[in-house]
């Protein structure tokens, strides 16, 4: 309902994020680029601004863990659960965990980190799962062609309900 939706969002438009650790399969620079591209997907359709920082008090904290990792939601090794994230109104707001036991990739092999990162970032911004297969917030992993990837109408409408539309600098 609207009361829940209103509470499950950040009350600011500039959000910092920190990458705490990295997976085994990808270079650190590659992961940084992937996360940068993933946050851009959401900032392109909202007034949100994302800044990568190294400080511990970042709004969004991204990390990779194996099996039980202290939050009561253990990972399960290769396959199964790929990651999870906490909504803005939860106790661990902005926390994103990826399963370090997966084979993360930049392609169709294993699991594409860019696609999963967009999904988990959606949670950390306040979005729940969608039943729409075309939505990036659909709960099951589906590889999508990165050359033509774009958010679904459902995704854009729901994130803009929380944060509004991006003000374009271009005049009509």
């Amino acid at each position: 309902d609207s009361a829940y939706a209103a509470s499950s969002k950040w009350n600011k438009h500039t959000l910092t994020y920190r990458i705490i650790n990295y997976p085994n399969d990808l270079k650190q620079s590659t992961v940084k680029n992937i996360i940068h591209d993933a946050v851009s997907i959401w900032s392109n359709v909202t007034p949100l601004i994302f800044q990568q920082v190294e400080s511990e008090d970042a709004d969004i904290k991204i990390s990779f863990w194996e099996l039980a990792h202290g939050d009561g939601c253990p990972f399960d090794g290769p396959g199964g659960v790929l990651g999870h994230a906490f909504l803005p109104n939860s106790g661990a707001a902005g926390t994103i965990h990826f399963d370090k036991g997966e084979h993360w990739s930049t392609s169709y092999r294993g699991f594409n980190l860019f696609l999963v990162a967009i999904h988990e970032l959606g949670h950390s911004l306040g979005l729940q799962h969608s039943r729409n297969w075309n939505s990036i917030m659909y709960p099951r992993y589906m590889y999508r062609d990165l050359r033509t990837f774009h958010l679904g109408v459902d995704d854009i409408q729901r994130i803009q309900q929380l944060y509004g539309e991006r003000c374009s600098s271009k005049k009509p």
């Binding site: 990972f75 396959g79 199964g80 999870h84 999963v116 949670h123 799962h129 709960p139 099951r140």
Partner: protein, 72 residues
């Protein structure tokens, strides 16, 4: 009563765990009743006519996000 094969029990246990992890709060009893199974169907774009246990289990084993599907 006939005793179901061990493999069926394993699959049913997985389905129960899955359902309770992603669709229910942890306070609710760990049972996969017919009503809950029917509630699962639209999640997987299945219908009762073509539902077979192994088909549902195949879908349940697909990689996914660990966040619950419960609509708040």
């Amino acid at each position: 009563f006939p005793v179901p094969p061990a493999t069926d029990l394993k699959g049913l246990d997985f389905a129960k765990d899955y359902f309770h992890q992603f669709f229910l709060t942890k306070k609710e009893p760990s049972l996969l009743i017919q009503g809950e199974k029917i509630q699962l169907l639209p999640q997987f774009h299945l219908n009762e006519a073509n539902l077979r246990e192994e088909q549902m289990l195949t879908v349940l084993h697909q990689p996914r996000c660990g966040v619950t599907d419960v609509d708040h």
